[in-house]
């Protein structure tokens, strides 16, 4: 049977606040265990939560970024369960009345096609602490530094059909939230964590199959692998006439498999009810509008503008608008050199290639956008050839100066002096009389191939500095 995969993603996004969602503790990553856990975070007796304004602001900003309904009145609930990394014995979350309602955004696939993915809701909640299972003989160590860190849980509709779309969704989401500046999006530090809900149904069927939830799949690559693996597991069961159990599974990256967490789930009954230590969050239009006005140009808008304004293809526009720093970089280069297409090509091929090889990011790029724009200008005004420009770029990367300084210092200036080129052309023609005769005997089609030989000889004699266009023109004139 042919199966269709139905995927919904729940992303826990850490919001980029200075302090925790309900306490004044810092949220800095990597501190010594329990040094960022205040009395509130430790659930000491009598401690009470007070809501961080910035967390609300960021949630609203996200909602506006996906065109969602913003709840003018939303409510925090307690989600009750016992776990040592959950100090109060409940998590403060939002259940019935989340701050962000339905919305959607567009994802772009590598082939240039696009799809719209629905967002069911996004709600504010607090993070739990961390359990460290190693190191202590027969004990687990609990670090509550992370407890109370603000999270936005973003729940998608089951609109995703395969691993590639799931990855594209996560990349688009990552791009959106970093554009909005509401999260650093650092997956390695857990700022964006993903749970994958996945079920299969016969192709063409409209009813949803039983789903499994795969917890904590924390990189784009693992999402892809976990989905492939889980598809295969469920397909195998279904092909053999078996039934899928609704359960939570854990992706084990080391073994590349998912396995059931049934031990933890069986007895859970979260007993959600409105958190009596907090009151309804009521926001008005003025508040929402002031945040709307502060929204930056978002990735999708930037993408269409890049297509319209610079004539870029959808894929190029997507790559270049992926992050705000990259998009800004590209636009500066294009402005400086005046040719957006060549600028786009240079940024994508040379610059991103170099950054990739160096394992670096655009923010740390040693070549400024203005400097790269100037380099491209030197190609456009025939000062150097494209090939030479690549050498100059290498030198610029190493910090040897700007384009003009390096061209000057290395004597790379292209020779465009007619007299000088004329002399070399004459030398080449007289030294290769046989080839000249061969050329003159040939038909038009063959001549086109043969002329390359003469061009090559001239370039060789000029040490690559002769303007290739002029060389071509002179040769054409003399070989008649």
């Amino acid at each position: 049977m042919r199966w269709e995969t139905v995927i919904g993603l729940e992303v826990h996004l850490q919001l980029a606040t200075e302090s925790k969602i309900f306490s004044g503790s810092p949220t800095t990553f990597g501190a010594e265990p329990n040094t960022q856990a205040s009395a509130v975070d430790l659930a000491m007796p009598g401690m009470l939560p007070v809501l961080n304004e910035q967390a609300v602001h960021y949630a609203v900003k996200f909602g506006l970024g996906i065109g969602a309904q913003i709840s003018k009145r939303s409510i925090f609930d307690r989600k009750n369960y016992f776990y040592p990394d959950l100090p109060k014995g409940y998590q403060i979350s939002q259940f019935e009345a989340p701050i962000v309602g339905k919305g959607s955004f567009e994802i772009l696939m590598e082939d240039g096609s696009s799809r719209t993915i629905g967002i069911t809701r996004a709600h504010l909640e607090e993070d739990a602490g961390k359990s460290l299972h190693e190191d202590f003989n027969n004990h687990t160590g609990i670090d509550l530094n992370r407890a109370g860190t603000p999270l936005l849980e973003i729940v998608s509709e089951p609109d995703i059909r395969n691993a590639a779309e799931a990855v594209a969704y996560l990349k688009a989401l990552h791009s959106l939230v970093t554009y909005l500046g509401i999260s650093d999006g650092n997956m390695a530090e857990g700022s964006m964590r993903c749970d994958v809900n996945i079920s299969l149904r016969p192709l063409g069927s409209m009813t949803l199959g039983t789903r499994a939830e795969i917890k904590n799949v924390n990189s784009f690559r693992f999402v892809e692998k976990a989905i492939h693996h889980e598809f295969q597991r469920q397909a195998d069961i279904l092909e053999e006439g078996g039934k899928i159990t609704q359960e939570t599974r854990l992706y084990d990256a080391d073994r590349d498999e998912t396995r059931s967490m049934r031990s933890k789930e069986v007895a859970n009954d979260y007993r959600y009810f409105p958190e009596p230590d907090l009151l309804p969050i009521v926001i008005d239009d003025i508040y929402i509008e002031s945040i709307r006005e502060s929204l930056p140009e978002l990735p999708a808008d930037k993408r269409s503008r890049f297509t319209a304004q610079y004539g870029l293809g959808p894929y190029d526009a997507n790559v270049l608008s992926d992050s705000r720093p990259l998009a800004d970089y590209f636009e500066t280069v294009a402005g400086e050199c005046g040719d957006a297409k060549i600028a786009a090509n240079w940024v994508q091929v040379e610059l991103l290639g170099q950054l990739n090889r160096a394992g670096s990011t655009i923010e740390k790029c040693p070549v400024s956008a203005t400097a790269l724009g100037q380099l491209i200008s030197r190609i456009l005004d025939n000062t150097i050839s494209g090939k030479m420009a690549k050498q100059v770029f290498e030198s610029m990367w190493k910090g040897e100066g700007d384009a003009d300084e390096i061209i000057e210092a290395r004597g790379l200036l292209q020779v465009s002096d007619t007299g000088a080129i004329d002399a070399i052309v004459n030398d080449v023609l007289s030294a290769n009389a046989a080839q000249v005769q061969q050329y003159l005997d040939a038909d038009e089609a063959k001549r086109k191939k043969l002329i390359g030989f003469f061009v090559g000889q001239v370039m060789k004699l000029s040490k690559g500095q002769a303007n290739p266009q002029m060389v071509n023109e002179l040769l054409a004139k003399k070989l008649t």
Binding site: P45, M47, P49, V50, L51, N80, P87, R271, F273, L279
Partner: protein, 488 residues
């Protein structure tokens, strides 16, 4: 000295008639000599109290005294006190010494008050007799075979027995007013949100409220001036401006309209108690108040409503007591589940466990709508009853309890009959209103309390009515025989 009011002690200290060390020493000596009969204190740190008194004396001498500088105050053992054990009457917190103060405690410290000790209470404030305390029951100074009421029974007994000039309590369903009534003292439960809940071990978050317990309304006003006010660290703390609660104590009662809910005077009210209340009402009438009969039609539902909401909130508030970060931890847990379930089995007493189970049940899947949500809806109806009445009257009056203090052990094996004790007090918490109890006579030597209920944030008015009543009566000045012992 121990017969002086807070107001008299404040004056005496300022006029250097005596020092704070002398006052504090006097009360500590009385606790030493007499508290074996009341068991009203769980923790007394004499050295710390005397040291604080010494500091207060220096401030008094330098003329830098604040409102309560040098006044010893006893605090219910539910308020977290930096460096002083805060047990909440439970084995679970028997070893718990918080490294922080509740906001109420901080406010008393900045006002210059001396922390005299921590008073006995029903475990986690769950009870109406003080019998659920891990430290044994406190006893009623009017008759030590009787309960002092609860859950702030230790505070009530300490004040009634003249072991402290005043004390703090908390009231989730009557826990200030009922023990105040049983022990013949004055106690005020302020409007929900009037006093910060930060640092008070939570029982039921949407009902808990701290307030003063003292001999007179005037002393309660002194304490409330210190306790009340907005706390940015408590989201449910009100930003409504506070008043000087002493300023209007003497205002005339002429034109005051007092509502008498028929439901509070019907079946279930002890006849002799009812007579005391009627006499008290006549006194208020004599001072110019008009008595108006009225109805709170949902009164019969307050007990079931309360006994869903309070246990539901408590069941999750008490989830933090898990043996991981502080407090009791069972011996040699074999695994995590054992650590949790045995710590909580051994650390909590019967009534607390019972309420956790009831609350968990009421919130669990399939029951939430029928219980918790339903109770929250009826809670609104109960509040609306009051709002309608306050369109016609300024204050509502009635008995605080259906009868005077009962004997120790009389109800401890019957939770439902214990719950019925709070029939007149619960609605006030459900509606978030201020309420107080003041001494209104005696039945067979046992004190009777008159309850006054006001509009939200009308504490000043309630204190005014109570004060005027106390200007004309002396019930609040009576001293139990058991407190007359000792040479002091």
């Amino acid at each position: 000295m121990h017969t002086k009011s807070v107001a008299q002690l404040v004056t005496g200290l300022r006029e250097r008639q005596f020092s704070s060390v002398e006052v504090t020493r006097a009360y500590l000596d009385r606790i030493d000599a007499l508290d074996s009969q009341y068991n009203s204190f769980i923790t007394v740190d004499e050295a710390a109290a005397l040291a604080a008194a010494g500091v207060a004396d220096e401030r008094l001498a330098s003329g830098a005294a604040n409102a309560l500088t040098g006044i010893p105050i006893a605090h219910k053992d539910i308020f977290c006190t930096d460096g002083v054990r805060t047990s909440c009457g439970s084995r679970m917190l028997d070893n718990f010494v918080p490294p922080y103060d509740a906001t109420v405690i901080q406010r008393f410290k900045s006002a210059g008050a001396v922390l005299l000790g921590k008073t006995n209470m029903d475990e986690f404030a769950m009870g109406s007799s003080n019998e659920s305390s891990f430290y044994g029951p406190a006893r009623n100074p009017w008759n030590t075979d009787l309960v002092p009421g609860g859950s702030s029974g230790g505070s009530a007994a300490a004040v009634a027995g003249l072991l402290a000039p005043a004390a703090t309590g908390t009231d989730t369903g009557g826990s200030i007013r009922q023990p105040a009534a049983f022990c013949g003292i004055t106690g005020l439960k302020p409007t929900y949100g009037r006093v910060s809940r930060l640092g008070i071990v939570a029982f039921a978050s949407s009902l808990d409220q701290a307030g003063p317990m003292a001999h007179s309304a005037e002393d309660c006003a002194f304490l409330l001036n210190t306790m009340a006010g907005h706390d940015p660290l408590d989201s449910t703390s009100s930003t409504v401006a506070t008043e000087d609660y002493c300023a209007t104590l003497g205002d005339s009662l002429e034109g005051l309209r007092i509502g008498l809910p028929t439901e509070y005077f019907g079946e279930g009210l002890d006849v002799a108690t009812g007579e005391c209340i009627n006499d008290a009402l006549k006194e208020l009438e004599a001072q110019g108040a008009t008595l108006v009969e009225m109805s709170l039609p949902h009164s019969a539902l307050t007990i079931p409503t309360y006994y869903i909401i309070a246990p539901a909130e408590a069941s999750t508030n008490l989830a933090r007591f898990d043996g991981v970060r502080y407090g009791y931890r069972c011996e040699n847990p074999v695994d995590l589940h054992d650590l949790y379930s045995r710590t909580r089995q051994e650390g909590f007493g019967e009534e607390v466990k019972r309420r956790i189970l009831v609350g968990t049940y009421a919130l669990s899947a399939g029951y939430y709508d029928a219980y918790y949500k339903k109770a929250q809806q009826i809670r609104r109806l109960i509040k609306q009853d009051f709002m309608h009445c306050f369109e016609q009257v300024d204050v509502i009056a009635g008995p605080t309890t259906p009868g005077p203090a009962f004997a120790l052990g009389a109800k401890s094996n019957d939770p439902i009959s214990m719950y019925l004790e709070d029939v007149y007090t619960l609605a006030v918490n459900l509606a978030g209103l201020p309420g107080m109890s003041l001494p209104a006579g005696f039945v067979e030597g046992k004190p009777v309390g008159l309850q006054l209920i006001g509009r939200h944030f009308s504490e000043a008015r309630l204190l005014n009515v109570a004060h005027r009543f106390q200007q004309a009566t002396d019930w609040h000045l009576r001293t139990p025989d058991s407190a007359k012992g000792g040479t002091l």
